[in-house]
């Protein structure tokens, strides 16, 4: 039984890490153009900010994946009460087979995927907000210059 639990962990870790890496690569390849727009074309600071966000994304998602890795074993334990010669004997049994392995694995991976998706949407929201803010700032600066010229 415990062998299968170890197998679940061994299967979970690479899937979680791979999922995180794929999502991060896709997202941060495409967010570079937003960063360039936010920092109005300054290449160095845009690249380094992109990289900083990427590191933070890895930290949060891998941290969550590791934090939620532990399987709650109490849901697989069944208690049996038997009466042997008038005395109650309760035994507990851990039933963890291939079916439970797949169920646990899919629920854990699904949870991680949902969290990654939420994080991606949050970061997208931040990027759009930053884009709007930087455009407003640029407009204000131009207006100031125009006023000074007059």
């Amino acid at each position: 039984m415990t062998e299968l639990i170890v197998k679940t962990y061994i299967a979970y870790l690479p899937i979680a890490i791979l999922l995180t890496f794929i999502v991060a690569r896709i997202f941060f390849k495409n967010s570079k153009i937003f960063m360039l727009d936010i920092f109005s074309g300054r290449q160095e600071i845009a690249n380094s900010t992109n990289r900083l966000f990427e590191t933070g994304f890895y930290l949060l998602s891998l941290g969550f994946a590791l934090f939620r890795m532990k399987i709650n074993k109490s849901q697989f334990i069944t208690y049996k009460n038997e009466f042997v010669e008038g005395v109650r004997v309760s035994t507990e049994e851990l039933s963890y087979g291939m079916q439970e392995l797949f169920e646990t694995l899919s629920s854990k991976i699904g949870m991680l995927a949902v969290v990654l998706g939420l994080m991606v949407f949050f970061l997208m929201f931040m990027l759009f907000r930053g884009k709007k803010k930087s455009a407003e700032g640029r407009a204000r600066k131009e207006e100031l210059q125009r006023m000074q010229e007059i």
């Binding site: 900083l52 949060l60 890795m69």
Partner: protein, 120 residues
């Protein structure tokens, strides 16, 4: 499982993660600090000081949490404890990291608004 072995794995893994992340932040955070201070030498000094403080806080916290390990008699328990502990540290690192970005961003914004105020 051998408790000392689990502790060694934990310390090595956590220290490795801390050092790798710290190097990355040290390299990329320089431009943000440069944007804030506009002075290369001063930015380098501040960056180095921040890195030193980061290492001290993180490795100190890792060393503190070694004594809070649960039972690690079997392989399953060892994996669970290790993942929970390393996950906590990585999560804390991530939260602190985003906090740092927000602080730097707010500071540079404030600086920009002061410059704008002076110009008008």
């Amino acid at each position: 499982m051998n408790t000392i072995l689990v502790y060694t794995i934990y310390l090595l893994l956590a220290a490795l993660i801390t050092v790798l992340v710290g190097k990355d932040l040290h390299r990329n955070g320089y431009y943000l600090i440069l944007d804030l201070f506009d002075n290369e030498e001063f930015s380098k000094t501040v960056n180095n000081l921040l890195l030193t403080g980061y290492y001290l806080v993180n490795i100190g916290y890792i060393a503190i949490t070694v004594s809070q390990f649960g039972a690690v008699e079997t392989v399953v328990l060892a994996i669970e404890e290790l993942s929970r502990k390393v996950g906590t540290i990585v999560l804390i690192l991530g939260i602190l990291h985003f906090n740092n970005i927000i602080v730097l961003h707010v500071l540079s914004k404030r600086k920009q608004s002061i410059i704008n105020f002076i110009n008008t």
